[in-house]
Amino acid sequence: MSVSADSTEPLVRVDDVHTYYGKSHILHGVSLTVQPGEVVGLLGRNGVGKSTTLKTIMGLVNPSHGTVLLDGNAITGLPPHRLARLGIGYVPEDRRIFRLLTVMENLRTGLDRGGVNEDRRRALLEKVFTYFPVLAERRSQAGGTLSGGEQQMLAIARAMMLEPKIILLDEPTEGLMPRMVSQIRRIIEVLHNDGVAILLVEQNVPLTLEASQRVYVMEKGSVRHHCAASEIDVHHPVIKQYLGL
């Protein structure tokens, strides 16, 4: 066990992962862990490999070296749809909702899987419609007609349909109005209270430090700093050095 003080097996362990896009070397040996139910922030400037780290965990890009473990089992090389069924939810940076599908059909993409009976379905839908009443109102509207903030809510709600153990959340507040940002902040809290782990990539440093238990700071494709979120604030030298705030 490396940095984490917990003795439990981490939910997700990324171990010395190297990832390439064609010939460009994006990740230079990234290692991190997320404990069950923990919110972990991933900070860094644009282009340091935060999103690529999430994509590597989700199996959307294959690392050339290193392993990703879920519950102690290697998942490197498994197709993304298997990983989704194993309990990884993914909310990408550009949201990527299915624009021509209705809100309800977007949710169905995560809901229509084996082992979800009628009661469970109803409970899951009721849950997201309680958190995001606007989605209930617009359930038969095409996803592409929603506003940016509503699309972000739909992207998160859609991932929740998978009942994931962890959600990989890529810049959920990017381009949103302050009111929407605080709503996203609240939903992170709710997910955390439900015991869902979150790996949060954000440019909004105060929000990340507030929402997370631990943070990793990345630069040039590797993790440069790692600490409890309570140990630092926006004025900490580490933040200045790696994020230039």
Binding site: R85, R96, L101, G110
Partner: protein, 298 residues
């Protein structure tokens, strides 16, 4: 203007009505073939040059089953099922390994499949055209013609199959998977949708629809190893005119193109009437390259 009005008046109304019915009947068969083709393109980015051969294979399977069992309707259903399963196997063996490769690879692969299937049919069944007997021999009087009821049944059945398929796409779990995959295959995978299975399923459905149209069409002419060529060419025109991958557009385009050819046949020899389709194709490519029935180009 007067000259044009006189010219149009010179065409007997009966002829226009007859040609409209003919156009809609061929249009529905064409729509059935083209919807499979456009679906396979829209979802898998595969231009399936073997689609006409799946149509031909469907007709031959129909010939065999009708000969053995004597039931046309059993032949129709069994042929769709058998060719559907064959299509799934074909996709797994030949196209699945090519996912992520240059589109040229899949074009060559499907072209190869079409040659193999054609020559297999020639070797197995010989060059003489086979016939599926008309499942219903009754006809009705349409002006000076005895119009076979069966041709009307073809149009209705094709419409029913397409309608059923639309409902399947709209409401079933697999239908939602297909539409999600068509829009964003990466995100579909991240939502747990088994995209390779969706690909195979789509190819199987497209094959089954081609086979069904082959059996439906067979009684009106004959069945031979090259019967797919004409149809696949027209289906490609329809798919382009309707907007590549656009199901609704393809169905409209199929009826539109068939009506055009039907009307052109009033003046031209039917074999020359095909020219009209090509003119429509060229005009579409020049002025509405995203398809004739697409509201706004994206």
């Amino acid at each position: 203007m007067g000259a044009i009005a006189n010219f149009l008046h010179a065409i007997p109304l009966e002829l226009i009505i007859i040609q409209t019915i003919n156009g809609v009947v061929t249009g529905m068969i064409l729509a059935l073939i083209a919807s499979g083709l456009t679906l396979i393109f829209g979802i898998m980015d595969v231009v399936n040059f073997a689609h006409g051969e799946l149509f031909m294979l469907g007709a031959y399977v129909g010939v065999v089953i009708v000969a053995v069992t004597g039931s046309f309707w059993l032949g129709l259903i069994a042929s769709a099922l058998i060719v559907g399963i064959f299509g799934a196997a074909l996709q797994i063996v030949t196209l699945r390994p090519l996912i992520g490769r240059d589109p040229l690879n899949t074009i060559l692969a499907t072209f190869g499949i079409s040659l193999v299937l054609q020559n297999y049919a020639l070797w197995q069944f010989g060059p003489v055209s086979r016939k599926i007997p008309d499942p219903m021999s009754s006809s009705f009087t349409l002006f000076y013609l005895q119009y076979p009821w069966y041709r009307i049944v073809i149009a209705l059945l094709s419409a029913a199959i397409i309608g059923g398929f639309y409902l399947f796409l709209k409401y079933s779990k697999f239908g939602v998977w297909i539409r999600a995959t068509a829009q964003d295959r990466v995100m579909a995978q991240a939502m747990g949708i088994p995209v390779p299975l969706v690909y195979t399923g789509v190819f199987a459905i497209g094959s089954a629809m081609a086979a069904a149209s082959g059996v439906l069409f067979a009684p009106t002419t004959g069945v031979d190893h090259s019967m797919g060529l004409d149809w696949v060419l027209k289906a490609f025109i329809v798919v382009v005119v309707g907007g590549m991958g656009n199901l609704g557009g393809s169905i409209l385009a199929a009826i539109f193109i068939s009506l055009l050819e039907s009307y052109a046949a009033i003046w031209l020899d039917p074999s020359q009437a095909v020219i009209v389709s090509f003119v429509a194709l060229i005009l579409t490519l020049l002025f509405r390259p995203t398809g004739l029935f697409v509201a706004t180009p994206k």
